[in-house]
Each structure stands twice: as structure tokens, then as C-alpha cells.
Assembly symmetry: C2
Homo-oligomer: 319 residues x 2
């Protein structure tokens, strides 16, 4: 029974029908009830109800490769088709030859702390959009996301969002939370579809970005991508970007990999309760089973008492 | 008469009682009515109603020096009092000796395109807060803004906001606009007072920032200032920061100086009407009369048909 006049009702988990009853769902429902003042505590002011979500592997599927990587590889292939010299240089060579082994090795090296080939890949990615306007980039991302299909799941990329997480976002919004995406992926890649897929408006999408340049012209000027990174929104950069955008510490954070650990640590108040969620990909039947790149996060979850969401056990439906 | 079912009423200028009837007020009221669909056009979707405001000289008084410069000079004086060697180095020397001539010369050089001493000043400013946590910095800014007095106007700094602009912000908010501060001043300097003074929540404050670092600890980690700039939110950086934060072009922009010209240019849609406002400081009686640093902006206003707001003629009250 509500003990306060909070405008939000807690809702007792209504709307979380893709979640199976269990510890994860219970932790979510009890946390939201506490935030809304239904556990005898003061309700948390609505403006403090900030929730942050990693995207790849947390809100939508990231295997066999991150969705944005597919987008980028297609662009690299286009470039290699137009310029034969690029076919001998990485990362165009791997893209042109569909050499997924090279790309997998780069990711494995990255998780092992070796950034040499990550820099080669990043250089190619940045060169791939050098000089494009932010509007044109967004139109390309939008068209790709609405037409391209996931290579194995048999549906389009927009249907790769996890149904239970989409429900969680709506449940939090109904309880006064402001949800933000805090992704290592590209901010401007996700913006055209964030409202439709997640109910998250574009001003609440935080992600990586290339450096931008502004040029005046009589039609309102143009903002274009430069061939250099502004920042990569991963690891310790995530708390910094959350602070820069919101000016607050979140009350709830959800992630799935080592790069989310600082964001989950940062989601902590001395006077308010917080909820840290970690998605565990343990369902090779309905999705993909993997813990590579999440080892440190799983250790921290165990030692710090974060709530682990098992895809296999906690989700009645995945997509 | 409203021709649509827009949720917002246009309000016909109600709430703008500090504005004198005239071309500026009329331009504002007619623009808002158009946006709300009261001039026979389709109402602009609420999510597109983004309005951006420079702060120093646009929303609050920036003479005889920007309010944040007073804050910084006091810190430099403290540092010089604690360390005699600093008293021989700029900018500590000027701060310690209250040598406002040196500081004025730096600003004059800046407007003339010479950044040599601006870099000396910026180096001092960045060193002044090296290593401070964002929470401690904000507490210091908050305490200063609530206690320090303007040197000549005879009231506290929080009362240095222009009453007609505060009314304009409320009028726009009542008509479905999301107002943002887009200041060359420090983002984290303004955040603790932006809601109270302007009704603008902290996540809608865009401004300059030093580079930040995140360090983990068991109490949720700490974000601290580094002794280097992340970016200076002025000139062509303003459109870039508006895009990065909001993902949109604004519908309305207000500024007062050359550094606002790119932001005003950027406030232009091919299919929606926009309003560009330029505050002209022409009232030496009630405030300060100056056009230094605004020459290019005034030229652009004349050639592009921006709406010039005369402090002397358009504002019935200033503070």
C-alpha cells in the first residue's frame, strides 16, 4: 500500500510480462517501489530518477557482431569497391574479403588489452565518414536500421531489441524515471530509432562520437564528421559522459560487459538506494551464450551484490 | 483564434509584462503563435520546440566582468595568498594586485583575434581547479553565487538575471518549448542555480568544461577536473554542442555577441520558421551600454533580419 502521495504508483511489476518471476524481477519491482515511496521511505524526487542503459548486449543483441559494425563494414566494402588500392589495406581488406576472422581477432585483442588493431579499425571507421554531414549520416543509419536483417535471427535489426528490456524502460518511465542510453556505439547512429524502439528521445542518447566541425552557409550551416574521434564512450568515459549530459549520478544502471563497470560503480548515492543490473548472456538457444568481455563485470556483480539478469532464466521471451 | 488543437495556447504575450510593446515583443508573440499553429499553419511538434540562450550578456549581466570571472579571480587571489611565487606570474599577479587593466586588455585582445594572453588566463583558470571533484566545484560555485554581490548594481549575483528574459523563458516553456542555456561560461558553474533562476533543469545547461577524469572508489567513484580544457563552448563550437546534446537544430536562439553568431545561423530550418534574437546593450542608465565584441553580430542581425532587443527601448524593467 502506498504510504505517500507520489504521483507514480509503483505498479507492482505490471507491464513486465516478458519477465519470469524470480530474483531479478523482484529486485526491480522492489527498487521501483522504494523509489516511489511505497516501502515507508520518502519518495525520491522525480528529477533524481535517472536510469542509464548500455545498448549493445544490454538493450539489443550484439552477436555475431555489433549492429553498427555491420553498418560500417558495408560502407568499407563500398569504399573498397570504388578504390582498388584500399583492398590491400586493413580494415578495408577484411571488409572486402568478408574476413570475419581478422575482425574477431581485433575484438579478442581489445578485450585482452591490446589496442594496436583496434586503432587500425577505428582509423578506417573514422575515414569512412570523413566530411559527411550529421543529417546525411543519420539518414544512412536510419535507412540501414530499417532495412537490414540480422544475419542469423531471421528478423530485421529493429526487432533485435530485447522485449523484457523494452518493457523495463516503459515500466521505469511510467514510474517517473528519465531513461538514457549510454552506449559505446555511435550516438548519432542510434538517435534516429531510439524513440521508436526504446521510447528514449534523441536528447537522451549518449554514445561515442567523432569530432565534428561547423561550417557556416546561407542555409543554416552544416555540421560534419571529422576523421578523428571526439571520445569513445566506454569504460571510465561513461560516468564522465553521464555527468556531462545529465549533471547527476544515476539511480539505476544496466550493462553487460567490462566496459560498463565504471558506469555501474558510479550509480551509487550516499543517501538514496540504487539498482545495478548486469545482463548475463547464458541462452545459446534463443540468443547467444557468451561471457567473453564480461569476466570483470561478473566478478564485480558477485562481490558488490549487483543484480544479474539471466537471459535463460529471467526472460520468458527474448525478442 | 486558434485554428488547431495544439495543447499550448500561444497566450498572446501574457506574462511578458517586463517587455514594452514594440517590434521585439511583437516578433516573439507572433513567432510563438505560429509555432503553436495559431496563424493557420500546422503547429510545430513539441519535440522540435528547442530554444537556446547564451547566458552572459543575454540572460544575465556580464559587466563590468562576467560573473564567473569574479568567482575565478577570488580563487586566484586565494592561491596567490597561499603561494608567494604565484604573485609574480599571470594571471595570479593581476588577480592579486586587482589589476583589472590587464584583464580588460586580455578581453580586448581576444575580441581583436589575439589569443596569446587568453591562453595565459585560461591556463591559470584550469590550474585553479585541477583535481577538484565535480561535486566540490559545484558546491563552491553555488555558495559564491548565493552570497557574492555585483560590484556596482547593489544586489546579489542571482538577481543579475534580466527579468524580461526570465519572463521569456517561462513564456516559451508554457508554450511547449524546451529551453537550453548554451553559454561560453562553465557548464558546471551554472548548473546549481539554473533551475531556480531560469527554470532550466541542469541537464539542459550546455557550456564550457574542463576535461574530466573518473576514478573508481568504493563510494561510487569520483569525477575530477583536469588542468586542461575539454572545449570552449563559443563561436562555431556552439552549434556542435547543441547538436551533441539535443540532436536537433533549435527553433529559437538568443545571444548578444560575436560568439553567438554561429549558433544564431544554425537556428534555421528549411521547413519551419525560426526566431533569432540579439540583445543590444544600449542602456547605460539601468545597466551597461556597450557594443564591443558584438560588432559582427549586429551587422549580421541587420543583414539577416534577426530581431534586435534594445535594453533601453524594449524592456520596461531590466532586473
Amino acid at each position: 500500500m502506498a504510504t505517500t502521495e507520489d504521483a507514480f504508483a509503483g505498479l507492482g511489476g505490471a507491464g513486465l510480462s516478458s519477465w519470469r518471476d524470480g530474483a531479478a524481477k523482484q529486485a526491480i519491482v522492489e527498487f521501483v517501489a522504494r523509489v516511489c515511496g511505497e516501502r515507508g521511505s520518502e519518495p525520491v524526487p522525480v528529477e533524481e530518477r535517472v536510469a542509464v542503459f548500455d545498448n549493445d548486449g544490454t538493450l539489443w543483441c550484439e552477436k555475431p557482431m555489433p549492429i553498427q559494425l555491420d553498418f560500417i563494414l558495408r560502407r568499407l566494402v563500398e569504399m573498397a569497391e570504388a578504390d582498388a588500392a584500399l583492398r590491400e589495406r586493413q580494415p578495408w581488406k577484411a571488409a572486402y574479403e568478408r574476413d570475419y576472422g581478422w575482425l574477431s581477432a581485433v575484438m579478442a585483442e581489445h578485450y585482452a588489452g591490446d589496442e594496436t588493431n583496434v586503432k587500425v579499425l577505428a582509423g578506417g571507421i573514422l575515414a569512412a565518414y570523413d566530411g559527411i554531414s550529421v543529417e546525411d549520416f543519420e539518414a544512412q543509419a536510419d535507412a540501414f536500421l530499417r532495412t537490414a536483417k540480422h544475419p542469423t535471427l531471421g528478423h530485421g535489426y529493429l526487432a533485435c531489441a530485447y522485449a523484457p528490456m523494452v518493457e523495463l524502460l516503459a515500466y521505469l518511465a511510467a514510474n517517473g524515471f528519465s531513461n538514457y542510453i549510454v552506449s559505446g556505439g555511435g550516438r548519432d547512429f542510434m538517435r534516429p530509432i531510439s524513440e521508436e524502439v526504446y521510447g528514449i528521445p534523441r536528447q537522451r542518447v549518449i554514445g561515442s562520437s567523432s569530432a565534428l566541425a561547423y561550417t557556416s552557409n546561407e542555409r543554416g550551416g552544416t555540421i560534419t564528421h571529422k576523421a578523428e574521434a571526439d571520445y569513445l564512450d566506454d569504460g571510465p568515459e561513461k560516468p564522465i559522459r553521464i555527468w556531462s549530459r545529465t549533471g547527476r549520478r544515476p539511480l539505476l544502471a544496466a550493462g553487460n560487459s567490462n566496459g560498463d563497470v565504471p558506469m555501474l560503480h558510479f550509480t551509487q548515492h550516499h543517501d538514496l538506494s540504487s539498482l545495478r543490473l548486469l545482463v548475463l548472456h547464458d541462452d545459446g538457444e534463443r540468443e547467444f551464450a557468451y561471457t567473453s568481455g564480461a569476466e570483470q563485470a561478473l566478478d564485480q556483480a558477485a562481490s558488490d551484490g549487483w543484480t544479474v539478469i539471466s537471459v535463460k532464466n529471467d526472460w520468458a521471451t527474448v525478442f
